[in-house]
Symmetry: C2
Subunit: 349 residues, 2 copies
């Protein structure tokens, strides 16, 4: 592969001048510029980004460590992060932590070893040692979606509190009184917050959230299945199950179906995180939608600010309720948005 030295020889110039021409430095004569261009063309030369990074101490690469790529929410987040980064001249390298602290550390370490310019993290499980060390060491960093209290890093996330209130209003309006939740890991902020918001919203209606109605999940489908089975085994099973993410909702659907029960007739279901498939599940699932694209964009912008040595602001965007049919026939759901995309006909009248 041709190096800058080859280009210099071909162009009859020094590597210094070639470098300057390549980088659009002003003090290069038009003639030299033309000869460099010609040489680059004939040699098919491409600058070696590794060498350039070593010299400049910048890689123009961002790291993104997320908890689970297979989760459509994170996939969409990753996509919008890459788009915005590309627009700003950065590449992004994704590390999939799979909700495992050790894997999260593996990726953080690898990324740092490769000298990425900044790190976007949705921390698994209250943060892993390596991740916390990186934050302390002053690596430009921004938390997305989840964050770690007490760590001085900007946070870009969405606030589901209002949407959860809308959801509970909707459920209460449909006559439901025994509401359960499948929570995410208590070590994650989103795991805790969604339970807190749910409990608080129930409180406004004088409803309690007993321990038996809190299923412990890990944001994976299988845990949603198990938690739902336990709910169904109770002497007094809940009338509604609210899954704190879309994968646990999938597991809940599995469990309900496996018992030959129906949603929403036998038990209602709602989920945090809206995904395209929820329109087509049986029944379509009522969900809380995050402004995922905007979150990704804001996170990248904040990180690039940090890299430039500026503050990088935290951003909180509201989530919103999307009512479908999985909780029963829609009533008058407060200030929530109602989705009626087309002349939907129910197969069971």
């Amino acid at each position: 592969m041709a190096s800058i030295k080859d280009v210099a020889v071909e162009a009859g110039l020094s590597v210094a001048t070639v470098s300057r021409a390549l980088n659009g430095h002003p003090s290069v004569s038009p003639a030299a510029r033309r000869r460099v261009e010609a040489a680059v063309e004939t040699l098919g030369y491409r600058p070696n980004a590794v060498a350039r990074s070593l010299r400049t101490d910048r890689t123009r690469t961002l790291g993104l460590v997320i908890s689970d790529v297979m989760n459509p929410y994170f996939t969409e987040l990753a996509r919008s992060v890459e788009e915005e980064a590309r627009a700003l001249g950065y590449s992004v390298v994704i590390g999939n932590a799979d909700e495992r602290p050790d894997l999260q550390d593996h990726h953080v370490t690898t990324l740092l070893d490769r000298r990425i310019d900044g790190l976007l993290v949705s921390p698994t499980d209250g943060g892993s040692p390596g991740m916390l060390a990186a934050a302390r060491a002053g690596t430009p960093m921004v938390f997305v979606d989840r964050w770690i209290p007490g760590v001085d890093v900007p946070v870009v996330r969405s606030d589901g509190r209002a949407a959860v209130r809308d959801l509970v209003a909707h459920l209460h309006g449909l006559g439901h009184r025994r509401l359960a939740i499948i929570a995410g890991p208590a070590a994650t902020t989103t795991g805790r917050e969604r339970v807190d918001a749910f409990r608080e919203a129930l409180g406004a209606y004088g409803l309690a959230l007993p321990g038996t109605y809190i299923g412990q999940g890990d944001f994976q489908a299988e845990s949603g299945r198990r938690a739902t089975e336990r709910f169904l085994d109770l002497d007094e099973p809940p009338e509604v199950v609210f899954a704190a993410d879309n994968l646990m909702a999938l597991g809940a659907l599995d469990a309900v179906r496996a018992r030959g029960l129906r949603v929403p007739e036998d038990i209602a279901l709602a989920a945090f995180d809206d995904i395209p498939w929820f329109v087509h599940t049986d029944p379509p699932v009522t969900a809380i939608a995050q402004p995922t694209r905007d979150l990704g964009r804001a996170a990248v912008r904040a990180l690039v600010e940090r890299i430039a040595g500026r503050a990088g602001e935290s951003v909180t965007l509201p989530a919103r309720l999307v009512v479908r049919r999985s909780c029963g026939k829609p009533g008058k759901p407060g200030n929530s948005s109602i989705e009626s995309p087309s002349p939907v006909r129910r197969s069971t009248p």
Copy 2:
């Protein structure tokens, strides 16, 4: 950030000895090794992978350029690629081409500039100039899922021919005679092959595949919707729509539902690529499942072979039919596998 020089000073050794200790070179005294370890520990030293790469001309990084991260099939592929790569000591950088040749070239170029050791590609649209140039230039490369005829690169893919035959047998057994397909881009191998396999399988039953029953899609949901609308507008609409990927099937479901029609009563639906959600759509979708994990693993292994200068073998794995309810009441579907995961009860008896 501490460099190897700092470690050398701290340990009272030369950088050469530190480097050797770090790399597990045999000719380092136990005493020196201990001092290096101690120095590394106190300084929190981590080798700079950029410098190492420049020196060794290897990055231990693989590039993966796929056509659409949001497609669950590719997400799963990416995941298994990363897993296998990690097991072999490689990182992987993913580029999302979004079915756009220009974006594919952007990623290939960026990846090559960063001197990745090898490239895994699922080519968009018959290949982009930069990608073809990379292949000619001898970059270690392997095609996954899709490939480009005439380009001398190992191909790891799955063969859906037998599964498509099983599908057509299943459909024929259910009494369907007017079968349509929503094809992928004709420029992609998977776009063409699935139509060919379908036509061939129909031929075995003396059924034709008229042009009006071939919808031109682009593997995105929206194109599935449009193609389905056109089918439904025909004087004699098809009885079955076979979508060549899962996203176009989603679009087809949208279109059918928007007209107030039902699957499978009004029109049957099947899809290439199986995904977890197909179990929970209304109705559950009959699909052809690829051995995605195995494909990812085999692709990485072939690429690592190539990087090592060896041949790297092409691999073709069979896909298989998974019968659910979207084509009508299951009959006796030849040698296909029938999925009945649990005591499923149909809500409409």
